[in-house]
Subunit: 313 residues, 2 copies
Amino acid sequence: MSLLKADVNRVSAFAPATSANLGVGFDILGLALDAVGDTVTLTKRDDNQIVIEKINSVTGLPLEPTKNTASFAVQKMCEDLGITTGFSLQIDKGIAMGSGMGGSAASAVAAVVALNGFLSSPISKERLVEFALYGEEIASGGRHADNVAPCVFGGITLIRSIDPMEVINLPYPELYCVIVHPHLQVETKSARGILSPTVALKKYIEQSAALAAAICAFYQKDVELLRRSMQDLIIEPQRAALVTGYYDVKQAAIDAGAISATLSGSGPSLLAFCESKTGAESVAQAMLTAFKQHQVNADHWISPINPNGAYTL
Amino acid sequence: MSLLKADVNRVSAFAPATSANLGVGFDILGLALDAVGDTVTLTKRDDNQIVIEKINSVTGLPLEPTKNTASFAVQKMCEDLGITTGFSLQIDKGIAMGSGMGGSAASAVAAVVALNGFLSSPISKERLVEFALYGEEIASGGRHADNVAPCVFGGITLIRSIDPMEVINLPYPELYCVIVHPHLQVETKSARGILSPTVALKKYIEQSAALAAAICAFYQKDVELLRRSMQDLIIEPQRAALVTGYYDVKQAAIDAGAISATLSGSGPSLLAFCESKTGAESVAQAMLTAFKQHQVNADHWISPINPNGAYTL
């Protein structure tokens, strides 16, 4: 049997925006958003090349296949599976670059999910995560799956292990996410660079209790327990200074009723959890006002959690 | 209304043995065992004194009220609640001292649970944990509730917070615990003393994933996920050298089918989780044999998890 379905020449896939870290679960927890996402279309080529045909994006992105997360992931997946057919990629960026919403992960995921649509025997979601990670790696400089995993699986995901890849989908109560993206430049690589290579044992224990309690809160769908548990004693204090007005914006979110507010991924965006859409709108306004008091403009999105992850169109 | 019931002169309470740390959840997770426990009987006195009348134990224990975990916890609870009546304590130790089964916690818990039996308005389990902790503090030198909390609540408990005290009871699949107590001397205080005050960030992330996955495994009652998740990358490597033959005994347990094997609390005992009673018996024998090959004698207990915790008799 051929690796590729004979009658399929073009597949498009959509992959949602994501938020990583969530305040607990640094590098291991992430969630998928319903608001926006990237779409990648793959078309078969006869010349065995992986080529980026077009990128629709407001900001410039590399057209060189080995520097683009989508084409690099496709290239790795083709190599590994022994696919010799070439593909042209069209990338439609719905996610603003540097918004802290997992744009690089979404492009890579949409690309491998589209490629999976060509396969006679599609591969598992875990393997899609592994291939998309190659793309994420060129963008962030590390093999962190906390955006890629929720992008593929949807919902809130825990990465138990990267090698072998194991992702656990967590249950969760109804939640609305507010993402506020301040117009500040924070690069993922430098946000990682400032982190201390060690954690104090006492903080490790306290943060472990918060993480474990948050997992309980998700399973019990207990919003009040989530409110008490979503705290970050380790990463947030180190990165807060990268975002002008960070603690004021966070406090504004909490005062407006947010369950929690924290850096989304490595920032500069903030993620706040809210119980209702109306609540989320108040929280978003409070956060934008707090940023304005620091002369910082910001975009925002309000989104429920996307339960299903990336899919072919 | 009087603080104490008028017609109650004597109350006995039983508190179960416990195991702390479990391989994941250092200082925050613990469980109650069904095998053995301590019983404390409180009898009212007219002279307003807290007096230890008798300790039935194979090993010597301090009779001085401020040095004994049970009497010190009772004293603190009386002070805090404004109880001026005196009490005589009889302590029946079912748990061998230094066995890593929470003997000091059990005496303190049995004592405060017995005292609670005198109260016209009994206090909450959380507050009982707080008072018993005063007793535990003199024994271990720190305010660690990972034995006291499961002793009071039963089951497998997560301590989300000590101040304010918040304990979460976790669900769990049917499990049999094997506790093997080698005849080696490891003091809790020195076992804490050898721990590095910092944790590498990378280990912190990996261990967080293991902890979070183990919490998922408890909620999902998924024994295979538990098997993949119960690992200790941080504490075990630092303490293993305190226990002669540690890694051989651990491996023997795993080879015999245990879900996991780790130090129980600060050791020297080991705790292994098994899926059945017969399985637990094989695992226990394999662990005893492995200790013997290192010329170490050991006692052992096989026990299901005690679901209810301490109670008045």
